[in-house]
């Protein structure tokens, strides 16, 4: 199950709406082992394409260096599909390289840029195998104790 706070959930959707019809992409980093998506990091889609996304290679290095320095990992890796459903494509599956991340797919195919609905789903992708999981949207992480408590489990 993915547990994500309302503000981050909203930010991912807003990013997808804004970049429509191109695919939007990004990461939500969190403390290593916590499974808490705490730091929203929208990324530039270097492909600037309605059918493909790719982090710019320089941005990618910077992102991983920052996460290393902060003892973080990518808890959520998200991107949007702008004309298909929010389900990982063959390419998404082949290129998924973070077995412990939640892969969030949002679809803006139903007029999301004009205020239409946005589909928001989450998956694990491990060794080419896709498993959909429940998404629970929590109110804000009001104190770090909740995060730390979760990190211990």
């Amino acid at each position: 199950m993915l547990t994500i706070d309302q503000a981050t959930y909203d930010a991912i959707i807003a990013h997808a709406r804004k970049d429509h019809p191109d695919e939007a992409c990004g990461v939500v980093a969190g403390p290593i082992g916590s499974d808490v998506p705490a730091r929203f990091i929208p990324m530039l889609n270097a492909a600037m394409s309605p059918t493909f996304y790719e982090f710019d290679s320089v941005d990618l290095l910077k992102l991983y260096r920052e996460m290393d320095d902060n003892d973080e990992e990518p808890v959520v890796v998200y991107h949007s599909h702008t004309s298909t459903e929010a389900y990982p494509s063959r390419t998404d599956i082949d290129l998924a390289s973070e077995p412990s991340a939640h892969y969030v797919l949002v679809s803006t195919r139903d007029g999301a840029h004009e205020g239409g609905p946005v589909e928001f789903r989450s998956y694990r992708i491990v060794d080419g195998e896709v498993t959909e999981e429940e998404v629970r949207v929590a109110p804000a992480y009001t104190d770090t104790a909740a995060i730390e408590e979760k990190a211990e489990h």
Partner: protein
Amino acid sequence: MAIEVRIPTILRTYTGGERAVDGGGSSVGELIDKLEASYEGIKERLVEDESVRRFVNIYVNDEDIRFTGGLDTGVADGDTVVILPAVAGGS
């Protein structure tokens, strides 16, 4: 002093879980051959048809080797090599 090679999560199965290993050689290509000698199978994940795989990024001292000569990019003791799989996909 050796060359520090940072290994991404997805390839740590080859390095026994190590996040960083020591590398050698005078070019990235040689460095990968030496890695292969210690961590069999890792080269296949990095190289295809004599060049870096399309969805793998390799950096020498923060420079993406695609812009510095690919596998011929020189390396020397004290350098840091970072390997990162692309974060990419498509609908």
